[in-house]
Symmetry: C2
Subunit: 754 residues, 2 copies
């Protein structure tokens, strides 16, 4: 049955490393898949031989689930540890707990006995630095001292973070999502998901977030989870030796990462499906879901938020929304789209400047400078001083009757006798107006500083800053609508749904809608965004406002450019990523893209039975192609197969060392049988074993849109072009990407790897 069955030389046992890939190269999905099927077949047929083999085959079948379980456990644990550490270190910038220095502000006052609800923030055990050092809690001197120490701690944390990244694991910087997308699409970046990266990223993530920079931990958590996935892959040869199977595990790990970042397992799976994964079979869907759930429950049992809630921002609203409110929601969507466009353009421009100018040479200095500016500007404003996730949480929440926050400083009706949850609209007090000013300043500050922060050489996520921008804008709009409705009950638009004394506007909902819109504008997530938000609130009630904002934001942002922030960074870095969503609509044909071009030297081919070892070695030395087509003869140009450069090099090296009689003048045979040569001739070298007998071919008339489709769906590395049976040329993934860049009037040379 198998055509290669009767050529069983020394090559019968594959020599080491055959079929592996070099760093910064693209994998061949079809080949990986068929290698896995071979392995599976071998195990299945062996399993009938003995009990031990049967057990081994069962273990093999279960290894996928074991890996998922381990990923869920480890990424959940790491997320919990990161949350706890960030809490503590963020508070360390302001003060310390006297009863136990490893307690955060909240934990410190929890354990205090004298605490009642009202002064929970002001328990005696927790002392600000000025109070501890000088004994004075109030006054200008204490303020300046606290200010100074706040900036100093921030600088210390960020300096540590950037130094650790620089010295130990340069891959630990950034959010990691662009690179993970590229890796999942079938690219090799060795070490990107390694143990060192895992360790350093976890530590520096804590430092970076604690330093108060405008960044989040959500994107990096995906990277951390993928590192866990990669780590556990190495336990099973099924995954460690097959780059295709490994990517299935990594897809699931990405889902676990988002699951712990937000406490949203379903949203995490959809995020992995929609945003980061390339090849996502249904089996992976189910396993991803398992990993995401295990991770979420591990995180919950660690209980870092101290409330046994699964989600990051738990909210519960008490009033429904009204049709007329769709207008401000859609306006928030427009804002989100504009913010997305602005952010992507400005951030990419800044990152390009960093890459091309002197700026890129001083990453430590850059981080220190940005941290300094952030800390100096953030301290005076209470909304930027605290951690961004606390800020978002406060903005999302509705004002209860007992809420002490400035944002809830409404003028209360003294003879109010309603239940706590149902508070009618009230006029805003001075605290609210004050808060609005501070929020407006915080908004401008966040918008500007985030552009400069994302892309620095420290771990930095984008979800939280984007959500913060949206939440601030949303809350401002929400309060404006609320006050308008209170003061103008008689306006036509308010008449129907907002009678006096009713609780008709929920500013917290506006903040949530704004956050979704801004996140959508930056990342262009759609379903996963809405599902994550849905899991945060846990009710289908608010899915229409969220969806309206998400759709608007995507449409507005798409009108200015189709690419989200991750795709833009992929392009900036020139990764060979063939986006599954891009539509290729040009009328070019395979013949326009294939190499050699008209004036190029002819295609480098091998013949099946007339090339010597020396010829092959010269060809390998003179060219840098990743593989060579094998033809019947140079005259007929009929295609036989395709041989990988790496396999060829290894095979010849191996043969020269181990096989007697193979010399430079030996003829290389790719045919089924080598002819019987006289003894005087050098021993032939039979290499049919490494020849791919089923190379992918298209005709020269194939439209490029079909070729792009084939590359995407089958995950090809290269494809040969024929015309009526004759080999004409070759199209590699890099050629396809270059062509696509050219068609979009971009520089084709920006595609760097292959």
């Amino acid at each position: 049955m198998n055509g290669t069955g009767n050529l069983m030389d020394f090559l019968d046992e594959p020599f080491p490393d055959v079929g592996t890939y070099e760093d910064f190269h693209t994998i061949d999905w079809l080949r990986e898949k068929s290698r896995d099927t071979d392995r599976h077949r071998k195990i299945t047929s062996k399993s009938k031989e003995s009990i031990w083999e049967l057990i081994k085959s069962l273990l093999d079948a279960w290894s996928g689930w074991v890996v998922m379980l381990l990923i869920g456990l480890l990424s959940g644990t790491l997320a919990g540890v990161i949350d706890l550490a960030v809490d503590w270190m963020t508070d360390l910038k302001e003060g310390v707990c006297l009863s136990a220095f490893w307690y955060s502000h909240e934990q410190c006052c929890w354990t205090s006995n004298e605490t009642t609800f009202d002064d929970r923030d002001k328990c005696p055990q927790w002392q600000k630095w000025a109070e501890l050092m000088t004994g004075h809690a109030e006054g200008a001197g204490a303020y300046v001292l606290n200010y100074f120490l706040y900036v100093l701690w921030a600088l210390l944390f960020s300096f540590l973070a950037v130094s650790l990244v620089r010295v130990f694991a340069p891959y630990a910087c950034g959010s990691g999502i662009p690179e993970i997308k590229t890796i999942l699409s079938g690219f090799i970046i060795r070490g990107y998901l390694g143990k060192w990266t895992l360790l350093i990223k976890t530590v520096t993530l804590v430092l970076a977030v604690s330093s108060g920079l405008s960044l989040g931990k959500e994107g990096p958590l995906v990277h951390v989870a993928c590192c866990c996935g990669n780590l556990f892959c190495s336990l099973f040869s099924k995954y460690s030796k097959n780059e295709g199977k490994r990517r299935e595990v990594l897809s699931a790990a990405a889902a676990a990462g988002v699951s712990v970042a937000f406490g949203a397992p379903i949203g995490g799976v959809l995020f992995s499906l929609e945003e980061v994964s390339y090849y996502f079979p249904l089996k992976t869907l189910w396993r991803s879901f398992f990993a995401a759930l295990v991770a979420a429950f591990t995180l919950r049992s660690i209980n870092p938020f101290g409330n046994s809630r699964l989600v990051l921002f738990y909210v519960e609203y008490h009033t429904p929304w009204y049709m007329a409110e769709l207008v401000p929601f859609i306006l928030l969507g427009v804002f989100g789209g504009l913010w997305g466009t602005l952010f992507i353009r400005a951030n990419i421009a800044w990152c390009r400047r960093r890459k091309t100018t002197q700026l890129g040479k001083y990453p430590v200095l850059e981080v220190i400078a940005v941290t300094g500016i952030t800390a100096v500007l953030a301290f005076p404003n209470p909304y930027t001083r605290r951690s961004t996730s606390e800020l978002i949480s406060e903005l999302f929440n509705d004002c209860g009757a007992l809420e002490s926050s400035q944002l809830c400083d409404y003028v209360n009706n003294p003879n109010m006798s309603r239940p706590v949850d149902d508070i009618p609209d009230r006029p805003a007090g001075p605290g609210v107006y004050n808060a609005l000013w501070q929020l407006a300043l915080a908004l401008i500050f966040k918008i500007v500083i985030t552009i400069f922060t994302f892309g620095m050489k420290i771990p930095s996520g984008l979800f939280i800053p984007s959500m913060a921008v949206g939440a601030i804008a949303g809350r401002i709009v929400g309060i404006a609508v609320e006050q308008m409705a209170y003061h103008h009950h008689d306006w036509i638009i308010f008449k129907n749904w907002c009678r006096p004394g009713a609780d008709c506007v929920t500013p917290g909902l506006y903040a949530m809608v704004g956050a979704a819109a801004c996140l959508g504008g930056v990342t262009r997530m759609t379903v996963s965004l809405v599902v994550i938000m849905f899991e945060l609130t846990g009710g289908l009630e608010y899915i229409v406002p969220l969806m309206a904002a998400a759709v608007t934001s995507k449409w507005v942002a798409d009108a200015f450019g189709k690419e989200g922030i991750y795709e833009s960074h992929i392009q900036l870095n020139g990764y060979p990523y063939l986006d599954i969503r891009d539509e290729f609509t040009h009328r070019t044909l395979a013949t326009d893209v294939m190499r050699p071009r008209r004036n190029d030297p002819p295609l480098a081919v091998l013949t099946q039975d007339s090339t010597t070892v020396e010829d092959v070695e010269t060809l390998i030395k003179d060219t840098d192609y990743n593989g060579f087509p094998v033809v019947v003869s140079r005259e007929s140009e009929r295609l036989i197969g395709f041989v990988q450069r790496r396999d060829l090099t290894l095979a010849i090296k191996n043969a020269r060392q181990k096989q007697d009689g193979v010399v430079s003048s030996s003829v290389v045979y790719f045919t089924e049988d080598a002819p019987q040569l006289p003894a005087s001739n050098p021993q032939p070298l039979k290499l049919r074993r490494i020849l791919n007998l089923s190379p992918f071919t298209v005709t020269d008339h194939t439209p490029m849109e079909t070729v792009v489709d084939i590359f995407r769906k089958l995950g090809l590395r290269q494809c040969l072009v024929t015309r009526s049976g004759r080999l004409l040329g070759i199209i590699t993934k890099k050629d396809v990407l270059r062509h696509m860049a050219q068609m979009m009037n971009q520089d084709p040379e920006s595609i760097m790897f292959n």
Copy 2:
């Protein structure tokens, strides 16, 4: 750029029907996609010409969203109407509302003024038939009369249903999901999603459900939604003229169908993705979600359940679950898997018998007989008399303090002073033991009758009966565990989590877990199942029990056979469905599968410049192949392209009618230029326009697993096989399916269509 540019005869304007498909044929996804890109290109380039064209192009871009909106609105409305009609007609079997005969029992008593909670079921306006006709509500005579009329109404409804299906729309029977899966995978069944089918399926679905047969409306609702989708496709030529694009709309419609069936929009989208769809690009994901949401909200605004809840079975539990409970949950999973296996095997065996014996000739009689048996056996048992969804709803719900149902007849502690929601475990009263017996009988009855019901010639869904089986089993187990925990507080397993006076076991949760397990065993849904159940309860709390049961059930069922009920029915009917989930693991090569086989006549090919019109006509008459490869010459066998039979027939017919000088001896040219012939020779016929210049080829050494992968991922119809540039044979989708059947030791001739 375009190679066909300089051959512009009369064929420049495509003649009607070129590029369409015949009934019961498979579409070519790649071709459909490239046709759509062409169309899109044309519109984009035209849009720059005038304002009107620009508006047209914008309308075209928005048409997808418009179609989704319309699908959501119509399928939501239809689902609401069906729900209302089923409610009314189910109650009509028992009695009638005196104040307004079109009210259901519940509506009738709602509108009654004298109603209090306790006797809501017994308002004077609602009269049972016996009471209305004889004046006696009680007694043996009244019972017999009610019994008789119940059976009579059931027979009437089911007779009407089966007759309407037989006479007007034979495609309206069954659940429709196997056929929709096949259609979505690229098969043409004309009329299956037509207007008549929509109308008749909607009407007969109401009749079938009301007749009290053991069937549900969920599967057929997917069919109804897909019919809506197909209907709205015809509004836009973008969808009506492109079978590929049409299928994108149908995928979204399927999501909308499940969304209204359960009130679970996210679950609906995942169901479409996981279970029914074949080609599901990300754009479709987003649009499906939109359609599913619109449908769900339309249904809610119709409010058929009278409680403004979105979901079919709304439940809220008040106690958490404990680790030890995982044991009974997993046992329920095992039960679900066994039930799935039993049901699939028995149902397929019965359906096969129906197909092959005399039984199949009397569908009306069969329906009447099964309805009669169902009604006669169902009436005496209160749990089978009522509608299945009411039964499930009661089983899912926890016993409140005021619950009057038999299932909640616990012995109450008289000096109980707790809030209503928090009831400690109590000893079961006589009502509960009575209910347990009746439930056990109902379980056996449902198991047996469902096997015979599914597959009859009426609309019949499987979700509700499967869930009912699971819910009954689960509730029985739940009550058993509860009573065990109450009476044996001191057992080690109960000691830690179930102190006396605590409310530790929720029998309703067991029912829900059992329902998920049984549904999973039958359909082999995974993620979508858990998500649908999650949307029903609305809390992540119970996702672990659900998941444990679903995983166990799938593993147990898979151990007996990989196929779910839908795949089994697809196979039974011989549809050409290439399952995306099947792993092909055999070591065969393309050369083993391709045609012609060793002893067959040679491959029927056309040559590019030496075949006459008569030769072509003879070839078309003598063979029934769907297309012919075109080669340079019979000697060289170098492949040029592929031409579809249908296009060829149409082109020759067209040319003979319209082009002067084309006679039987005219030579057909597939080359770029036909030679200048002397005037005496007959006019040549140039057919390069209909030649597919980029046919898909693989080498004869390509492993079949790769070929299967290519067929699946690219949606090919056929693929040509070459060896070193020479055409050897052809592999069609049917050949692939036959080969797969053969490898699984099934009858290859069971694949009927191509």
